[in-house]
Every structure is written in structure tokens, then in C-alpha cells.
Symmetry: D2
Subunit: 137 residues, 4 copies
């Protein structure tokens, strides 16, 4: 099963001796863009075309801590595709298979005219691929 690997950096820890909780939000972004590339959708290319995809919401449950130099396995899945929004789920695990993070994020897409995209109409290929992933999750 596909996972994105993030090796915790020393500078990502805090004085509690663990990965600072804000960094997992960054790992979600890394994993999500990698996941989309693995399905043929390259965020860097979207941006060059004038499309941006702001984060609409984040939820994150902290189950276990990690620290430098842990390697975290991040499993991304598409939970739901709505008219104008897509929701991803994230499970992060340590090498010993304990879950450290359960999270979700929602994103909309802004077209180059500055409007919120209707996914089915504006990006039909993307809509279809994501819907298929959501069905097979």
C-alpha cells in the first residue's frame, strides 16, 4: 500500500523532545502533493496554469509522539469529493506500526479567473479520478 515517508528533522523537534505538533500539518501537505503526483496530478503544474488550491479546514488528532530521527509512514486517501471541495484523510505511523496521527484536510480550487472551481465542470478529469479513489478507499 502506498505511503509517503517523512524523516523527522532535528529542527522539527521542540524542547519537549518531540516533533512540534504544527509540523504534522506540513507533513500532510508533503504527503498530499506526493499522493496527487502518484495519481497524475502535479500541483506545481496546476499552479503554473494559474490554479491554486487553498486549504479550507484541517483536523488533526495526536495519538503518539515522534522525534528525530524517526521515519513516519503517511497514508493518504480521498475521503469525499463534493461539488467544490475535496476531503483527504491521513494516517501517520511510526516504524513499529503505532499510529501517531489521524488527520483530515479539506481543499477547494480557485481557477485562474479567481473563482471557486466546480470540480465536475471545471476539472472533469480530476473530479473523476478523485471520485474513483473515494469510492475505492
Amino acid at each position: 500500500m502506498y505511503s509517503y515517508k517523512h524523516k523527522v528533522k532535528y529542527y522539527e523537534t521542540d524542547k519537549m523532545g518531540v516533533t512540534h505538533h504544527s509540523n504534522y500539518i506540513r507533513f500532510m501537505e508533503e504527503a498530499r502533493t506526493d499522493f496527487l503526483i502518484s495519481h497524475g496530478f502535479d500541483y506545481a503544474k496546476l499552479e503554473e496554469m494559474g490554479i491554486i488550491s487553498p486549504v479550507v479546514s484541517i483536523e488533526c488528532k495526536y495519538r503518539n509522539t515522534t522525534t528525530y530521527p524517526d521515519v513516519i509512514d503517511i497514508f493518504v486517501s480521498v475521503e469525499e469529493v463534493k461539488a467544490a471541495k475535496i476531503r483527504f484523510n491521513y494516517i501517520m505511523k511510526k516504524a513499529d506500526d503505532t499510529v501517531c496521527i489521524e488527520a483530515a484536510s479539506e481543499h477547494c480550487f480557485i481557477t485562474k479567473d479567481g473563482k471557486i472551481a466546480r470540480l465536475k465542470k471545471d476539472f472533469p478529469e480530476f473530479f473523476e479520478a478523485m471520485t474513483k479513489l473515494a469510492e475505492n478507499k
Copy 2:
């Protein structure tokens, strides 16, 4: 009404031209520790006593973007005090009073023996003060 002010730094922006969404999680921490100090509870002193307070969960809704050099007003309140957990709410506003962030975070407390604190028994003064703030929110 009490608010904590965060001035967005250039290094907190990203190539979309706005404050990167992960940074608001950091602003929540800044505002929360400042809020607790304003109510007589200094996290740095707690930590010196061997008590730590991990984040249990985060929720964050992104309503509007900010960018350098915006000044964000962060309003913190205690939403709920449970046996072993406390939940804070956050509203962040821009200078023109538009809401940019609505968020919440939950925290537990670990005693110096490494156990999850029962707030009422282990930190009665803190429990009482936070409960009062939750009632008056």
C-alpha cells in the same frame, strides 16, 4: 476584550503570497500561552516543575487569508474543562475585523510522574480558574 496580536512575518508567507496555513497552528500556541499567563498560569514555570501539556487535537477552519505585514488579533477562550482535558477556542481577525481563522485545540497535562493528570485533583487551582472561564465565555 483581551486579544493577542501576531504580526505576520515575511518568512511565514508562501509562494501563494499568503501566510502558510501551518503557521496558524503556531499562532494558536503563542496566543494560548499568552492567554494562560494573563490568567496567572505560566507554561514555562509549569515545565520547570516537570509538568508538560501535549496537544491532543487541533481543528482549524480557514476563512480568509492573511499576509505579511498583517497584524492578526487572536481571541482565545476556554470552551470546556473535562476530567483530564481542556478545550480552547480561537478566533483570529484582521485589522478590518474580517475573521480569518476559527479554531479549537484540546490539551491534556502530564504530571512529573509521567501520568495523565486528573485536573480537579492534580491541579485544583488551575481546574477552578479554567472552569470559571468556561462558564463565563
Copy 3:
């Protein structure tokens, strides 16, 4: 004497228990932009005019550590103004007056045509003000 104050954030510390060394480079940026505003030059406005000012070089000597929640006093001065480059010095001190950081940074300026600015010709007012500061340092 003018100083910019940075209060160290919890998320700026690392598992060594101190402010991560990369963050001082960020504090230099905060202090420099604040210093320039205090002399009438607002970087945000320059950028709106299409002018950007990349960092050309950084030097930083780490004399003493700081940690959350230390307040650092940052003293900025103009060391030298060259044809196309300006060099700033930074001294950072803790509350007890011990020096924690001695640093310098060099910057050039890119005009809206994408060319490296000749300071005297392209930004005469800025050139003169900075030269005066360098002479009186």
C-alpha cells in the same frame, strides 16, 4: 538606543532545549524590516512597487543560547553601503545583557525591470539615508 524585541516562541526551540540556530536568521529579517520602517523605508511597500531585495549573504556567530520564553533585544546597524549592495550588522542580547548573536547580512535590490539596482542612481533617497546611518554607526 533602538532595538527590536523578539520573544522566543515554544515552537522555535529544539530538543536540545534551546532556540534552533536557524531561527536567528529569521529574527534578523524581522529586526531588519522593523529597523528600515523606523527609518521610513517600508519593505512591504517596496514590494508592492515591484522592487524585491534578496539576501546575498549571511554570517552568524552563536555566542550564547536562548530559549522559550526569553526576550531577545536585537540591535541593527548599517555597516556599509556599496554601489549595489548594503550590509547590516546585528547584535542580539538577552535580558541579562549577555550577547547571544553577532551577525551580518548583505542585500541587493532588484528593480521592477528585473535588474540589480545601482543604489545611488535607482534609489537615491534610500542610498543617502543608509549612507548617513553607516557613517554614524
Copy 4:
């Protein structure tokens, strides 16, 4: 020739559209710890033994910008081993082989008694290995 690869993350860019200059200091740390592991010296294990290695100084020249999703090749070498200090050099290159960063960092080592280590006496194996690398650079 050995190089450490860093893929620039979206959250490492700033509103100028490029990797924020402070992040290269972090990439140096990543590359240095990876370089030391590749020569048999694991910083995480040193730290477990009570040894820490603070950064004494940093120098960084910014030759070219990078941005998301560039992959940067980082070449680390030992420039000099002194009695109590070691100096590393860094060259960072983009995929097209243009140099983006030339940098150096100096580090001392603190023994578990809290004293600055004399490398030859306190860590003879490490001293010898690093000296050999400095000679063959």
C-alpha cells in the same frame, strides 16, 4: 560523489516565490547529519550518550534561488578539524548543475559533563576520521 538530496517543500517558499533563505541553514543540518551517518557517526546516538554539538558559526552565500518542487543536491565536506572545533563546507546545486548555495558551518562538542570536548583526546576515533576527510577533501 556523495550528495544529500533535499526536495524543496511548498511551505519552505515565501511570497517572493522562492525558498526562504533561512531554510538553507536547515538543509545544511540535514545534509551534515546524513553525511556524518554515512561515515559511521550517528548524531542521534551521540545525543543519547549525553553529547551535544552546538553550532558555533554559519556563513552562507546565496548564488541562485530555488523553489518548490526543486530537488537540491547538497555536497558536504570537512574543511578543517581544530582542537575543539570542526568546520564543514557545503555546496548546493540545482538539477541543471547551477550552484545555488556556498556555505560553511563550525561546530564544537559538549561532553556529558558539560565541558567543551578536546576532539583528539575526548573523541579520538571521530577526530581521526574527520581529519582524514579534511586531508582528502
